[in-house]
Symmetry: C2
Subunit: 111 residues, 2 copies
């Protein structure tokens, strides 16, 4: 298990991307209309449209760990446009934590 | 400039610490009544009492960079109990970003 990213809300993805590029020399890893993935100081920061994705922190897990967590929690696994899969769980104060899996060779980040 | 930590809200620090220990094998770096600093999968995660600290992401900067940013933004530098110093700025959608400085030899993390 490894920390993967933190996702914070934005209602205008291009505007936020530009702000983080200007102020923190962010590099764009992925960007579309509803979210962006940036590298900021060596860490992945996601910008998400809150109506589509909840703000969250994410830890990377294996497919076996994801399947086990899905069974244990009863939360079905979501497949994402970028090829990753995951589930959200919530801490005692409602903060979303994503368990995210990057199936080898099956995400847009492998090319 | 290096990514330093992400801080998420908790209204009961010990309860949240226990949850992250149980579910993500979090290690406690620092803990007091109003906040905790955890290592979760190789990344620092802070748990903060929202009435005392805003949820935020933080990037580590040098004292020179912190002083320059304070002058440029007009935001005065805060000194923290753990020996760090910092300022908060806000992205276009109100997300707080902390510029944090660890003065060498002057924080609780140096001992």
């Amino acid at each position: 298990m490894k920390f993967d990213h933190v996702a914070i809300p934005s209602s205008n993805i291009p505007q936020s991307v530009e702000w983080y590029r200007q102020h923190f020399a962010a590099e764009v890893i992925y960007q579309d209309k509803s979210w962006a993935f940036l590298n900021i100081g060596g860490q992945k920061l996601a910008l998400v449209t809150p109506t589509q994705h909840p703000p969250h922190v994410a830890v990377a897990v294996s497919e076996e760990e994801l399947n086990a967590a899905s069974k244990q929690t009863g939360v079905p696994i979501d497949s994402h446009r970028d090829g990753t899969k995951g589930i959200y769980i919530h801490d005692p104060f409602g903060n979303a934590v994503e368990l995210i899996c990057y199936p080898p060779g099956k995400t847009v980040y492998d090319s």
